[in-house]
Symmetry: C2
Subunit: 396 residues, 2 copies
């Protein structure tokens, strides 16, 4: 009597998690320092010491009920106020407490956002390449994920294909900038054009189309630039954030949804998210994490290592002869494999203890993703190995 | 385009949460110490200092990645091992790591358990009185909750009604002992009889019927007794636990599902739970909480205050002339209201700043729930007020 839907899914596990598990296993054989594990987006840099100190201070001084007691249904009020004030200051959008809903990371945020603004049978569009866990997040709501082909070579939005795929069934569009896996950052021009197009479609179809914006890499942008904030360009935007990458806290499961105050039903959407939590039995992230991020709201870990690693890898891959776009953010780089079949390529690389994720599941067959959220020293040691692999196997 | 299902639910908020919000608001007017707030099951006793000290030690000594990094898909391995070993020692069931799945409290545990062992259209039976949040947990999975009428006066199981309501559509039975709201603890005889009945039905219908056992109050039992552990009586049991009450940690959202090693598909159920998490975007409880409870696995808060409060209230209510069973555990007491309409009774009590939850939503109209997880001093001060209320309004 076990639910067959979930049983079937067992045979379709996350490729990323499988490769990460292989890397761990191989690490036990030859020492993990000798495995060039580019599989997992597990941040390598330290959580800011201010975060840990703030939590320690809370545990030393707060009473049990204030620290460990139930959060209100819609989340800790202080955390919601703090997030609203920070976003208002940074992006000039007049968020209030009522627009903020703390979630268990961006995963929880996206899953809630999709449940709130779609109904079973609706279509959600996203853009290749995309994070493959979007499939379970969306398909489990009863909506259907459809993937707009990539915009080559620079991984902005393929508007010609988007226009073809837009139908009255589309009630939400899901974007991710800075993008996992491509490292692309949507330009202002891209976001403006997307907003114009969605506004036109809303008029034409006579219903809302929500933009669900997945933004865990918002603070990891290179060359001193900033990531354009999608909600500034389109009112019906639900910004889904996670502190996993900016504060190196992925295990704490803490993020939020910020509802644009001009969105349709902006005043009740957070209440709707609360109702969704009731149904799946997940009432708020941990109180420690909500209070912890409030204490360091505008800080980040020292993220500069990611830019250092990116430059090392980009230069080396280009030298070797890979086709690759220079990432503008995130901690991923996304070269074309040296043969058409990226799965075969990735498998051959395992012989060199190079762990790269083939991007077939990301909607971009032929590419591989390297997550360089690892020590720079290891990136440096990986470069001659990459070169050797490309030379010996592909004659580069 | 907001999902109408959730919008409708806004008008059907938790009565408990609404009354708790009223109590807070009233507290701002007259001082919260003057509001006899029996609404919410928010534990009043301190979290054991060993828990806070263990977390502080972790934050002072562990590296970022081990403390704040992603948990494996199925939860932190050390936490799972620790929970398995503790349950094995306490209850003599040979749990292994693979049988334990950390969850965000008992709510997350129940919602996962139901998703795993039912399919849309199935029936889940539970027994009145029951925690009203079971409705959203179960109805959101597509299964239907049906409620077996209460066994009066002592709130064990009404087997005559259970037998009438059992059909081949029933794929899970949900119990809660010690019981919220009645305070009843299922006896060994009750659990043995339930197991016999379910085994017979499994044979008759040719399919599994899982027992989902909601056990957040397992450690809060009075008169020096222990709560019989349901999984010892029936193999197809999924034990859903929360540390919210035993360690006073409800805000941390930490609990687990323990799969009986003899259950059908016991070796893959935890994998199934992992797949369910993928679909709703909730990958494990916070790493801090998983490690924290591992450090104090067999400890509890000082729970003796609940027994003190129970005796005070039980004696007073009995003296006043309430019909009431003496609770065997939990921190709830469940008297019959002094008029047939418990909602009207509860409303009249508000004039005396007595906040009691009418039990219509708990499947036991005519009763009210008092949560006495509050200071004993406040319970003592409430007694003359209860007496005055009963006298002035009901001539008791």
């Amino acid at each position: 009597m076990i639910n067959q839907k979930y049983k079937d899914r067992l045979s379709n596990k996350s490729v990323i998690r499988e490769l990460a598990a292989y890397a761990q296993k191989r690490g036990k054989e030859i020492g993990y320092e000798n495995v060039f594990d580019f599989s997992l987006g597990n941040p390598s840099v330290e959580t800011p010491k201010e975060y840990n100190e703030a939590v320690i201070h809370m545990y030393q001084t707060m009473d049990s009920m204030s620290l460990h007691g139930y959060s209100p249904t819609l989340g800790n009020t202080h955390a919601r106020e703090t997030i609203a004030a920070s976003l208002k200051k940074r992006f000039g959008i007049p968020y209030e407490t009522k627009h903020i809903f703390p979630t268990t990371g961006a995963a929880g945020a996206i899953a809630h956002a999709v449940r709130a603004v779609t109904k079973p049978g609706d279509t959600v569009l996203t853009f290749a390449p995309f994070f493959p866990e979007y499939r379970p997040y969306i398909n489990d709501t009863g909506a259907t994920l459809e993937v707009v082909p990539p915009d080559l070579p620079d991984f902005q939005i393929n508007f010609r294909e988007l226009e073809k795929m837009m139908t009255p069934d589309v009630s939400a569009v899901l974007i991710n900038s800075p993008n996992n896996p491509s490292g692309a950052v949507y330009s202002e021009a891209t976001l403006e054009r997307l907003a114009r197009f969605l506004n036109t479609c809303e008029q034409k179809y006579g219903h809302d189309i929500f933009l669900i914006s997945d933004e865990p890499y918002r603070e990891i942008v290179f060359d001193g630039k900033k990531c354009p904030y999608p909600s500034r360009y389109y009112d019906n935007t639900l910004s889904c954030y996670s502190f996993s990458k900016s504060l190196s806290l992925p295990g704490e499961r803490i993020g939020y949804i910020a509802v644009n105050p001009k969105a349709t039903d902006a005043d009740i959407l957070v209440d709707i998210f609360g109702q969704i939590s009731r149904g799946i039995g997940h009432n708020c992230p941990s109180s420690t994490a909500q209070l912890g991020i409030s204490a360091v709201i505008d800080r980040t870990s020292d993220l500069s290592v990611y830019e250092t690693n990116m430059n090392l890898l980009y230069d080396a891959l280009t030298d070797i002869g890979f086709e690759v776009q220079r990432p503008q953010g995130t901690f991923y780089i996304f070269p074309k494999a040296l043969e058409d079949n990226a799965v075969a390529f990735s498998k051959k690389a395992l012989d060199y203890d190079l762990i790269m994720v083939p991007a077939d599941n990301f909607g971009a067959p032929g590419y591989v993703r390297l997550a360089y959220c690892i020590d720079t020293e290891k990136v440096e040691r990986s470069l001659p190995v990459l070169k050797k692999f490309a030379h010996e196997v592909y004659g580069k």
